[in-house]
């Protein structure tokens, strides 16, 4: 862990010593964020400034610090909240003051202790910490809002957009933990366009690292064995070959798949897991992802049905955009990339069944 975000440490006194007092740009923060073109997490990479402007015009705004981190192989949010809670809270406070919110809700896993950091604050804003809802889709912004309202943490249809009509119908600014930490750096004039990334899999440097834009994911990892592929952007990202120059994006996770692992087995397991993690609200997602998981399982086992490869294409296209949230789209993206990168391996398994690598322990900790 390096980089400007962790310069202060968990205690407020150290934080202030490292960064100085919190600036008070008020609503001018939004322009600074716009100039920096800061984008949020999640597949859409939505410009943070747009959300801030919407929040500023909304009714009784509230800021939600989204530390749900529903992706099991992602660790950057928990890491930030544990080792750099004050930059995150600084960002939340700055955002709150920019939009006129007097309340900040922090959603975090139970094992991350924030009470001490919150108690040390002197911002005169109401900051409360709420335990996150479990599950992969629980981090989606409308799911977080539902959870905060005391309902099951499942996504809702958008529109209405949370920035206009969210938590108890108030203007709700939901931002990820690291986005807010970067807002704090921007306000202090210290940000230089790096993002946090969690590295895992066949690497000698697992953990949270900083990445500059344009640096290929392959350059971030120190492989522990020759690599077959990388899963860039987490479970919703895409598989790429090790020599492809693709930067990390989306959820900021890079998983390295070594030659000793089987990409077909991994993809089959991942698809099955993602299908189980569906919120279960939308027919095409529930049925479609399950059906796709079935196809992958049959191919991996060497017992495909005649139409299975056709179904893989057909159903991947059929689930896109058909859910209330982007869960099916993410799975579709991942499968399309698997199709591209592992085409030969998929054919191989369809004809000959499991390979020796299929018996290796799973790389993707699903």
């Amino acid at each position: 862990m390096s980089g400007r975000l962790f310069a202060g440490g968990p205690a407020r006194a150290d934080h202030l010593a490292a960064y100085g007092p919190l600036p008070e740009p008020g609503s001018r923060l939004i322009d600074a964020v716009a100039r920096a073109d800061l984008r949020g997490r999640g597949g859409a990479a939505f410009p943070a400034a747009i959300k801030l402007r919407a929040g500023a015009e909304g009714r009784r705004p509230v800021v939600v610090v989204n530390g749900t981190e529903g992706e099991p192989i992602s660790a950057k949010d928990a890491t930030l909240l544990t080792w750099a809670p004050h930059p995150v809270l600084d960002g939340a406070v700055l955002a709150a003051r920019a939009v006129g919110a007097r309340e900040i809700l922090v959603v975090a896993p139970a094992h991350v202790r924030l009470a001490a950091a919150v108690a040390e604050r002197r911002d005169r804003l109401d900051i409360s910490v709420v335990e996150r809802a479990p599950g992969f889709v629980a981090g989606e912004e409308t799911a977080v809002i539902a959870h905060l309202e005391g309902r099951p943490g499942r996504p809702r249809v958008k529109p209405p957009w949370p920035a206009e009509h969210g938590y108890h119908r108030r203007a709700t600014l939901v931002q990820n933990v690291d986005t807010l930490a970067l807002v704090a750096l921007i306000a202090r004039g210290e940000w230089s366009d790096t993002r946090l990334v969690t590295l895992s899999g066949a690497v000698r440097n697992p953990g949270v690292a900083e990445a500059r834009p344009g640096v290929p994911a392959a350059d971030l990892v120190e492989p522990s064995e020759p690599l077959r592929a990388l899963l860039v952007g987490g479970y919703f990202g895409g598989w790429v070959k090790p020599d492809e120059r693709v930067g990390p994006s989306g959820a900021g996770v890079v998983v390295a798949l070594g030659r000793s692992a089987c990409p077909v087995a991994e993809t089959a397991l991942l698809t099955a897991w993602l299908a189980r993690e569906s919120a279960g609200q939308c027919g095409p997602c529930v049925h479609g992802l399950g059906a796709l998981a079935g196809v992958l399982a049959r191919i991996a086992a060497g017992r495909p049905e005649a139409e299975d490869f056709g179904r893989l294409t057909r159903w991947t296209d059929m689930v896109r955009g058909r859910g209330a949230c982007a869960h099916p789209d993410g799975v579709a993206r991942m499968l399309a990339s698997a199709r591209r990168v592992f085409a030969a391996k998929l054919e191989d398994h369809a004809h000959h069944g499991p390979c020796t690598a299929c018996r290796a322990p799973a790389t993707l900790a699903a």
Partner: protein, 178 residues
């Protein structure tokens, strides 16, 4: 005397059509339709027959009110147990009429009310039919004759089968898991 016969005829016809609409309602919920019959037809039929029942009921009530033989005023057609003649049995009929009005009104305004409110009221459909049957048997003007008993038995058997299909094991609902 014509009025009396019209009252009984519209009453019996309402009961039969109410039975038919109950069956169609259950078929709709179970998403079943005969092969090559689009389900929107069955949905429309359920709606149309229900409206027909209301028309027949209106005639049934009007004829009951103007008939000189029994003392039922217009108010007691809607307010249960307020009639001069056989207040209990007529009252159950009035109750049935009230339920029908609620069902029809909420269905016509379904889009405005929202699904939950509509569904909550629509459960009363399971009360409307028994009320109609008991009213028919209790006011008893034709119960003595065999055909009425066969009719009542037949309608009861049909509704019993529909309810068993609705709440029994053979659920054909294909909703996404909730």
């Amino acid at each position: 005397m014509t009025v009396w016969y019209l009252m009984r005829a519209t009453g019996v016809a309402s009961l039969v059509l109410l039975t038919a609409t109950m069956v169609m309602g259950v078929l709709n919920v179970q998403r079943w339709a005969p092969r090559r019959v689009p389900r929107f037809l069955l949905q429309d039929a359920h709606r149309t027959v229900s409206l027909l029942v209301v028309v027949l009921l209106a005639l049934h009530v009007v004829t009951a009110v103007i008939d000189p033989f029994v003392s039922i005023d217009l108010l007691s057609a809607a307010v249960p147990f307020a009639s001069g003649w056989k207040p209990l049995w007529v009252g159950l009929g009035a109750l049935g009429l009230d339920v029908m009005v609620a069902l029809i009104a909420t269905s016509l305004l379904r889009a405005r009310l929202g699904l939950r409110a509509w569904r909550a009221v629509h459960w009363l459909a399971y009360a409307a039919w028994p009320l109609a049957l008991v009213h028919a048997l209790g006011t008893g003007t034709d119960v003595a004759s065999g055909w009425m008993r066969w009719l009542a038995a037949g309608c009861t058997a049909v509704v019993a089968a529909a309810v068993a299909a609705r709440f029994g094991g053979a659920q054909r609902r294909l909703e996404a898991g909730r």
